[in-house]
Amino acid sequence: MSEQIDERLRTELQRQGVWVTSMQDLYNWGRKNSIWPLQFGLACCAIEMIATAASRYDIARFGGEIFRPSPRQADLMIVAGTVTKKMAPQIVRLYNQMADPKYVIAMGACAISGGPFKQGYNVLKGIDRYIPVDVYIPGCPPRPEALLHAFMELQSKIDSQKLTGAHKAVHLDPKQPSEFPVPTFGKHDLEPPGNPVVFQPPKIER
Protein backbone atom coordinates (compact mmCIF):
# COMPACT_ATOMS: atom_id res chain seq x y z
CA MET A 1 0.00 0.00 0.00
CA SER A 2 2.76 2.37 0.87
CA GLU A 3 5.30 0.95 -1.54
CA GLN A 4 7.14 3.73 -3.25
CA ILE A 5 5.84 4.59 -6.67
CA ASP A 6 8.28 4.36 -9.50
CA GLU A 7 9.43 7.93 -10.02
CA ARG A 8 9.68 7.61 -13.79
CA LEU A 9 6.19 6.24 -14.07
CA ARG A 10 4.89 8.98 -11.88
CA THR A 11 6.41 11.80 -13.92
CA GLU A 12 5.20 10.14 -17.07
CA LEU A 13 1.67 9.94 -15.71
CA GLN A 14 1.87 13.53 -14.52
CA ARG A 15 2.77 14.62 -17.98
CA GLN A 16 -0.40 12.98 -19.19
CA GLY A 17 -2.40 14.86 -16.59
CA VAL A 18 -2.78 11.99 -14.11
CA TRP A 19 -1.66 12.71 -10.60
CA VAL A 20 -0.85 9.68 -8.52
CA THR A 21 0.39 9.47 -4.99
CA SER A 22 0.88 6.90 -2.30
CA MET A 23 -0.75 6.86 1.09
CA GLN A 24 2.59 7.55 2.69
CA ASP A 25 3.29 10.57 0.52
CA LEU A 26 -0.16 11.97 1.12
CA TYR A 27 0.14 11.45 4.86
CA ASN A 28 3.58 13.05 5.07
CA TRP A 29 2.62 15.88 2.73
CA GLY A 30 -0.28 16.75 4.99
CA ARG A 31 1.79 16.57 8.14
CA LYS A 32 4.79 18.48 6.95
CA ASN A 33 2.77 21.44 5.80
CA SER A 34 0.82 21.91 9.00
CA ILE A 35 3.35 21.74 11.80
CA TRP A 36 1.89 23.51 14.78
CA PRO A 37 4.51 24.61 17.28
CA LEU A 38 3.93 24.81 21.01
CA GLN A 39 3.83 28.39 22.12
CA PHE A 40 6.45 29.01 24.74
CA GLY A 41 9.81 30.73 24.89
CA LEU A 42 12.46 30.45 27.53
CA ALA A 43 15.04 33.18 27.01
CA CYS A 44 16.51 35.54 24.45
CA CYS A 45 16.19 33.02 21.60
CA ALA A 46 12.43 33.27 21.99
CA ILE A 47 12.64 36.82 20.63
CA GLU A 48 14.07 35.44 17.41
CA MET A 49 11.34 32.82 17.34
CA ILE A 50 8.76 35.58 17.69
CA ALA A 51 10.41 37.46 14.85
CA THR A 52 10.23 34.30 12.76
CA ALA A 53 6.53 34.03 13.43
CA ALA A 54 5.89 37.69 12.65
CA SER A 55 5.30 39.09 9.22
CA ARG A 56 8.85 39.88 8.16
CA TYR A 57 10.12 36.30 8.22
CA ASP A 58 6.65 34.77 8.25
CA ILE A 59 6.79 31.15 9.26
CA ALA A 60 3.26 30.90 7.84
CA ARG A 61 4.83 30.34 4.45
CA PHE A 62 5.78 26.90 5.72
CA GLY A 63 2.55 26.13 7.50
CA GLY A 64 3.86 26.65 11.00
CA GLU A 65 2.21 29.85 12.08
CA ILE A 66 -0.37 28.33 14.39
CA PHE A 67 1.40 28.50 17.73
CA ARG A 68 -0.70 26.46 20.09
CA PRO A 69 -0.99 27.34 23.75
CA SER A 70 -1.82 23.75 24.63
CA PRO A 71 0.56 20.81 24.25
CA ARG A 72 -2.34 18.56 23.23
CA GLN A 73 -2.70 20.42 19.97
CA ALA A 74 0.96 20.93 19.13
CA ASP A 75 3.25 18.88 16.91
CA LEU A 76 6.51 20.69 17.42
CA MET A 77 8.31 21.91 20.49
CA ILE A 78 10.77 24.72 19.78
CA VAL A 79 13.01 24.84 22.82
CA ALA A 80 14.04 28.45 22.36
CA GLY A 81 16.39 29.51 25.07
CA THR A 82 18.15 28.58 28.27
CA VAL A 83 16.64 25.65 30.09
CA THR A 84 17.22 26.09 33.78
CA LYS A 85 17.30 23.04 35.96
CA LYS A 86 14.23 24.30 37.74
CA MET A 87 12.38 24.47 34.41
CA ALA A 88 13.58 21.17 32.94
CA PRO A 89 10.94 18.91 34.56
CA GLN A 90 8.20 21.16 33.26
CA ILE A 91 9.61 21.04 29.72
CA VAL A 92 9.81 17.26 29.80
CA ARG A 93 6.28 17.06 31.16
CA LEU A 94 5.01 19.33 28.39
CA TYR A 95 6.76 17.15 25.86
CA ASN A 96 5.11 14.10 27.37
CA GLN A 97 1.72 15.73 27.11
CA MET A 98 2.07 16.46 23.41
CA ALA A 99 0.16 14.11 21.15
CA ASP A 100 2.06 11.87 18.76
CA PRO A 101 3.65 12.53 16.30
CA LYS A 102 5.84 15.13 17.99
CA TYR A 103 9.12 16.77 17.12
CA VAL A 104 11.65 18.91 18.94
CA ILE A 105 13.85 21.70 17.63
CA ALA A 106 16.62 22.73 20.02
CA MET A 107 17.16 26.37 19.14
CA GLY A 108 20.36 28.11 20.13
CA ALA A 109 23.50 27.21 22.02
CA CYS A 110 21.65 27.14 25.33
CA ALA A 111 19.11 24.54 24.35
CA ILE A 112 21.81 22.43 22.73
CA SER A 113 24.41 22.44 25.47
CA GLY A 114 23.86 25.17 28.02
CA GLY A 115 25.69 27.65 25.80
CA PRO A 116 27.29 30.65 27.45
CA PHE A 117 25.87 29.58 30.81
CA LYS A 118 27.08 26.01 30.62
CA GLN A 119 29.07 26.27 33.85
CA GLY A 120 26.16 27.86 35.67
CA TYR A 121 24.79 26.16 38.73
CA ASN A 122 21.20 26.21 37.56
CA VAL A 123 21.55 25.63 33.83
CA LEU A 124 20.70 22.36 32.17
CA LYS A 125 23.48 21.35 29.79
CA GLY A 126 21.25 20.67 26.83
CA ILE A 127 17.63 19.60 26.61
CA ASP A 128 18.73 16.46 24.74
CA ARG A 129 19.61 15.00 28.11
CA TYR A 130 15.95 14.24 28.66
CA ILE A 131 14.04 14.30 25.38
CA PRO A 132 15.01 13.30 21.85
CA VAL A 133 15.83 16.29 19.65
CA ASP A 134 15.22 16.21 15.91
CA VAL A 135 16.94 19.37 14.70
CA TYR A 136 19.66 21.39 16.43
CA ILE A 137 20.26 25.01 15.45
CA PRO A 138 23.58 26.47 16.55
CA GLY A 139 23.92 30.17 17.18
CA CYS A 140 23.47 32.64 19.97
CA PRO A 141 20.85 33.56 19.00
CA PRO A 142 20.26 31.85 15.65
CA ARG A 143 18.86 34.21 13.07
CA PRO A 144 15.24 33.74 12.02
CA GLU A 145 16.50 32.39 8.73
CA ALA A 146 18.27 29.67 10.67
CA LEU A 147 15.02 28.75 12.37
CA LEU A 148 13.30 28.64 9.01
CA HIS A 149 16.09 26.42 7.75
CA ALA A 150 15.62 24.12 10.71
CA PHE A 151 11.93 24.10 9.99
CA MET A 152 12.58 23.03 6.41
CA GLU A 153 14.99 20.38 7.64
CA LEU A 154 12.25 19.08 9.86
CA GLN A 155 9.87 19.08 6.93
CA SER A 156 12.24 16.99 4.86
CA LYS A 157 12.68 14.67 7.82
CA ILE A 158 8.93 14.23 8.09
CA ASP A 159 8.74 13.71 4.36
CA SER A 160 11.18 10.82 4.54
CA GLN A 161 9.42 8.98 7.33
CA LYS A 162 8.08 5.56 6.48
CA LEU A 163 4.56 4.43 7.14
CA THR A 164 5.26 0.72 7.42
CA GLY A 165 8.17 -1.65 7.52
CA ALA A 166 11.05 -2.08 9.89
CA HIS A 167 12.15 1.56 9.66
CA LYS A 168 8.79 3.15 10.14
CA ALA A 169 8.41 6.43 11.97
CA VAL A 170 8.90 6.43 15.73
CA HIS A 171 5.35 7.43 16.52
CA LEU A 172 3.96 4.55 14.46
CA ASP A 173 6.04 1.97 16.25
CA PRO A 174 4.15 0.61 19.26
CA LYS A 175 7.41 -0.42 20.91
CA GLN A 176 8.90 3.09 20.97
CA PRO A 177 8.06 5.18 24.02
CA SER A 178 6.05 8.35 23.69
CA GLU A 179 6.72 9.62 27.20
CA PHE A 180 10.08 10.07 28.82
CA PRO A 181 10.78 10.04 32.56
CA VAL A 182 10.48 13.44 34.17
CA PRO A 183 13.54 14.31 36.27
CA THR A 184 12.98 15.12 39.90
CA PHE A 185 14.53 17.84 42.03
CA GLY A 186 17.38 16.31 43.99
CA LYS A 187 19.52 17.60 46.82
CA HIS A 188 22.37 18.77 44.60
CA ASP A 189 21.20 18.29 41.03
CA LEU A 190 18.36 16.97 38.96
CA GLU A 191 17.88 13.26 39.38
CA PRO A 192 18.86 11.61 37.17
CA PRO A 193 21.23 14.11 35.50
CA GLY A 194 20.47 12.61 32.10
CA ASN A 195 18.31 9.95 30.52
CA PRO A 196 20.68 7.30 29.10
CA VAL A 197 17.99 6.15 26.66
CA VAL A 198 18.16 9.41 24.72
CA PHE A 199 21.45 10.90 25.85
CA GLN A 200 24.75 9.19 25.12
CA PRO A 201 27.59 11.70 25.01
CA PRO A 202 30.55 10.61 22.94
CA LYS A 203 33.22 8.69 24.76
CA ILE A 204 36.87 9.62 24.57
CA GLU A 205 39.08 7.12 22.82
CA ARG A 206 42.79 7.01 23.23
Binding site: Q119, Y121, K125, F185, G186, I204
Partner: protein, 218 residues
Protein backbone atom coordinates in the same frame (compact mmCIF):
# COMPACT_ATOMS: atom_id res chain seq x y z
CA UNK B 1 24.90 67.38 49.51
CA UNK B 2 24.56 64.44 51.76
CA UNK B 3 26.46 64.19 54.98
CA UNK B 4 29.63 62.16 55.02
CA UNK B 5 29.62 58.70 56.50
CA UNK B 6 31.54 59.98 59.52
CA UNK B 7 28.83 62.49 60.25
CA UNK B 8 26.10 59.90 59.82
CA UNK B 9 27.97 57.57 62.12
CA UNK B 10 28.40 60.26 64.73
CA UNK B 11 24.75 61.21 64.60
CA UNK B 12 23.57 57.62 64.93
CA UNK B 13 25.86 57.10 67.88
CA UNK B 14 24.65 60.30 69.48
CA UNK B 15 21.04 59.22 69.01
CA UNK B 16 21.60 55.72 70.33
CA UNK B 17 24.67 55.38 72.51
CA UNK B 18 26.29 51.99 72.63
CA UNK B 19 25.76 51.24 68.96
CA UNK B 20 28.82 49.82 67.25
CA UNK B 21 29.45 51.16 63.76
CA UNK B 22 32.59 50.82 61.66
CA UNK B 23 33.37 52.44 58.39
CA UNK B 24 34.58 49.95 55.78
CA UNK B 25 36.75 51.77 53.30
CA UNK B 26 36.57 50.91 49.63
CA UNK B 27 39.89 51.40 47.92
CA UNK B 28 38.57 51.02 44.39
CA UNK B 29 37.98 54.06 42.13
CA UNK B 30 34.29 54.11 43.02
CA UNK B 31 35.23 55.08 46.59
CA UNK B 32 31.96 53.71 47.89
CA UNK B 33 32.67 53.36 51.56
CA UNK B 34 30.14 51.62 53.71
CA UNK B 35 28.90 51.47 57.25
CA UNK B 36 29.32 48.16 59.02
CA UNK B 37 26.52 48.08 61.55
CA UNK B 38 26.17 45.64 64.41
CA UNK B 39 23.50 43.01 64.13
CA UNK B 40 21.81 43.68 67.47
CA UNK B 41 20.93 47.26 66.68
CA UNK B 42 20.60 46.87 62.91
CA UNK B 43 16.84 47.31 62.78
CA UNK B 44 17.04 50.41 64.98
CA UNK B 45 19.80 51.92 62.86
CA UNK B 46 17.90 51.14 59.67
CA UNK B 47 14.84 52.83 61.08
CA UNK B 48 16.90 55.86 61.99
CA UNK B 49 18.31 56.06 58.46
CA UNK B 50 14.84 55.85 57.04
CA UNK B 51 13.01 58.37 59.22
CA UNK B 52 15.76 60.89 59.96
CA UNK B 53 14.61 64.12 58.27
CA UNK B 54 18.06 64.96 56.92
CA UNK B 55 18.69 61.52 55.45
CA UNK B 56 15.30 59.98 54.65
CA UNK B 57 16.77 56.95 52.95
CA UNK B 58 13.39 55.63 51.91
CA UNK B 59 14.48 53.41 49.04
CA UNK B 60 16.54 50.24 49.30
CA UNK B 61 17.57 49.68 45.73
CA UNK B 62 19.69 46.63 46.16
CA UNK B 63 20.58 44.02 48.72
CA UNK B 64 23.26 41.49 48.02
CA UNK B 65 25.49 38.98 49.72
CA UNK B 66 29.23 38.60 49.94
CA UNK B 67 31.10 35.48 50.90
CA UNK B 68 34.40 35.78 52.70
CA UNK B 69 36.33 32.57 53.13
CA UNK B 70 38.80 31.93 55.93
CA UNK B 71 41.82 34.07 55.21
CA UNK B 72 45.38 34.20 56.40
CA UNK B 73 46.86 37.65 56.44
CA UNK B 74 50.59 38.28 56.65
CA UNK B 75 51.75 41.26 58.62
CA UNK B 76 55.25 42.53 59.13
CA UNK B 77 55.80 43.88 62.59
CA UNK B 78 58.89 45.33 64.20
CA UNK B 79 59.79 43.29 67.22
CA UNK B 80 62.58 43.93 69.70
CA UNK B 81 64.74 40.89 70.06
CA UNK B 82 67.97 39.89 71.60
CA UNK B 83 70.41 39.17 68.82
CA UNK B 84 73.93 38.23 69.93
CA UNK B 85 73.32 39.74 73.33
CA UNK B 86 72.25 43.02 71.78
CA UNK B 87 68.74 44.36 71.60
CA UNK B 88 67.75 45.05 68.02
CA UNK B 89 64.66 45.81 66.03
CA UNK B 90 63.86 42.94 63.73
CA UNK B 91 61.14 42.68 61.11
CA UNK B 92 58.99 39.66 61.65
CA UNK B 93 56.07 38.35 59.69
CA UNK B 94 53.19 36.99 61.64
CA UNK B 95 50.37 35.12 60.10
CA UNK B 96 46.95 36.11 61.28
CA UNK B 97 43.92 33.97 60.60
CA UNK B 98 40.64 35.68 59.87
CA UNK B 99 37.76 33.24 60.10
CA UNK B 100 35.28 33.42 57.25
CA UNK B 101 31.93 35.14 57.40
CA UNK B 102 29.09 36.22 55.17
CA UNK B 103 27.91 39.74 54.56
CA UNK B 104 24.70 41.33 53.44
CA UNK B 105 25.10 44.70 51.74
CA UNK B 106 22.28 47.18 51.25
CA UNK B 107 22.33 50.18 48.94
CA UNK B 108 20.06 52.94 50.18
CA UNK B 109 18.82 55.99 48.35
CA UNK B 110 16.50 58.81 49.21
CA UNK B 111 13.73 59.56 46.77
CA UNK B 112 12.65 62.57 48.83
CA UNK B 113 16.02 64.28 48.91
CA UNK B 114 17.38 62.68 45.75
CA UNK B 115 20.61 61.57 47.29
CA UNK B 116 22.46 58.36 47.85
CA UNK B 117 23.72 55.79 47.94
CA UNK B 118 24.44 55.08 51.55
CA UNK B 119 25.76 51.57 51.84
CA UNK B 120 25.30 49.56 54.97
CA UNK B 121 26.53 46.06 55.58
CA UNK B 122 26.07 43.43 58.22
CA UNK B 123 28.31 40.52 59.05
CA UNK B 124 27.41 37.06 60.26
CA UNK B 125 29.36 35.41 63.03
CA UNK B 126 30.58 32.58 60.83
CA UNK B 127 29.73 30.69 57.66
CA UNK B 128 27.90 27.75 59.23
CA UNK B 129 25.45 27.80 62.14
CA UNK B 130 25.99 31.43 62.96
CA UNK B 131 24.99 32.64 59.49
CA UNK B 132 22.08 34.68 60.79
CA UNK B 133 21.24 38.34 60.38
CA UNK B 134 18.29 40.48 61.33
CA UNK B 135 15.96 41.10 58.41
CA UNK B 136 15.53 44.66 57.20
CA UNK B 137 12.37 43.80 55.29
CA UNK B 138 10.19 45.42 57.97
CA UNK B 139 11.97 48.71 57.21
CA UNK B 140 12.34 48.46 53.44
CA UNK B 141 9.77 46.22 51.82
CA UNK B 142 11.84 46.03 48.65
CA UNK B 143 14.40 43.96 50.50
CA UNK B 144 12.04 41.02 50.81
CA UNK B 145 12.84 39.17 47.60
CA UNK B 146 16.48 40.15 47.68
CA UNK B 147 16.90 38.80 51.17
CA UNK B 148 15.27 35.63 49.98
CA UNK B 149 17.82 35.54 47.20
CA UNK B 150 20.68 36.02 49.66
CA UNK B 151 19.22 33.20 51.72
CA UNK B 152 18.92 31.04 48.64
CA UNK B 153 22.37 31.59 47.20
CA UNK B 154 24.49 32.33 50.28
CA UNK B 155 22.63 30.62 53.07
CA UNK B 156 22.19 33.61 55.35
CA UNK B 157 19.13 33.21 57.54
CA UNK B 158 17.24 36.43 58.13
CA UNK B 159 15.46 36.65 61.47
CA UNK B 160 12.18 38.48 61.20
CA UNK B 161 11.75 37.92 57.49
CA UNK B 162 8.06 37.34 56.69
CA UNK B 163 8.54 34.55 54.14
CA UNK B 164 12.03 33.08 54.04
CA UNK B 165 12.05 30.45 51.31
CA UNK B 166 14.32 29.70 48.41
CA UNK B 167 13.50 31.90 45.47
CA UNK B 168 15.61 30.75 42.52
CA UNK B 169 16.54 27.18 43.31
CA UNK B 170 14.07 24.45 44.15
CA UNK B 171 13.10 23.81 47.74
CA UNK B 172 14.82 20.43 47.91
CA UNK B 173 18.18 21.94 46.95
CA UNK B 174 20.68 21.89 49.79
CA UNK B 175 23.74 23.82 48.64
CA UNK B 176 24.39 27.53 48.44
CA UNK B 177 25.69 28.04 44.91
CA UNK B 178 27.12 31.55 45.24
CA UNK B 179 29.44 30.59 48.06
CA UNK B 180 33.02 30.49 46.98
CA UNK B 181 33.53 26.91 48.07
CA UNK B 182 30.52 25.60 46.18
CA UNK B 183 31.35 22.78 43.80
CA UNK B 184 28.72 21.98 41.23
CA UNK B 185 27.82 18.36 40.58
CA UNK B 186 30.15 16.76 38.09
CA UNK B 187 28.05 16.34 34.97
CA UNK B 188 30.91 16.67 32.56
CA UNK B 189 30.25 15.55 29.03
CA UNK B 190 32.65 15.31 26.13
CA UNK B 191 33.64 18.61 24.58
CA UNK B 192 35.87 19.19 21.57
CA UNK B 193 37.79 22.13 23.02
CA UNK B 194 37.87 22.10 26.79
CA UNK B 195 39.77 24.91 28.47
CA UNK B 196 40.48 26.32 31.92
CA UNK B 197 38.21 24.84 34.58
CA UNK B 198 36.48 22.65 32.04
CA UNK B 199 39.82 21.19 31.02
CA UNK B 200 40.59 20.40 34.64
CA UNK B 201 37.26 18.65 34.92
CA UNK B 202 37.73 16.91 31.59
CA UNK B 203 41.10 15.51 32.63
CA UNK B 204 39.48 13.56 35.41
CA UNK B 205 37.25 11.90 32.88
CA UNK B 206 39.89 11.01 30.32
CA UNK B 207 40.71 7.33 30.19
CA UNK B 208 44.27 6.57 31.28
CA UNK B 209 46.88 6.80 28.58
CA UNK B 210 48.01 3.47 27.24
CA UNK B 211 51.41 2.45 28.55
CA UNK B 212 54.48 3.63 26.65
CA UNK B 213 55.42 0.19 25.35
CA UNK B 214 52.08 -0.29 23.69
CA UNK B 215 52.52 2.89 21.73
CA UNK B 216 55.93 1.93 20.40
CA UNK B 217 55.89 0.57 16.89
CA UNK B 218 56.98 -3.03 16.96
Amino acid sequence: MMESLEEIKARIQAAAPGVKIDIVANGSPSQQHSLLIDNEHAVGIAKFLRVDPALRLDFCSNATGVDWLDRTVKKTVKVKKLVDGEEKEVNETIEGKIPGYLEAVYHLYSITHKHGPVIIRMRTADRTDGARLPSLTPIWRSAEFQEREIFDLYGVRFDGHPDLRRILMWDEFQDYPMRKDYREPDDYEWEPTPHDEVLEKAKQHYPPRPAEEELKPS
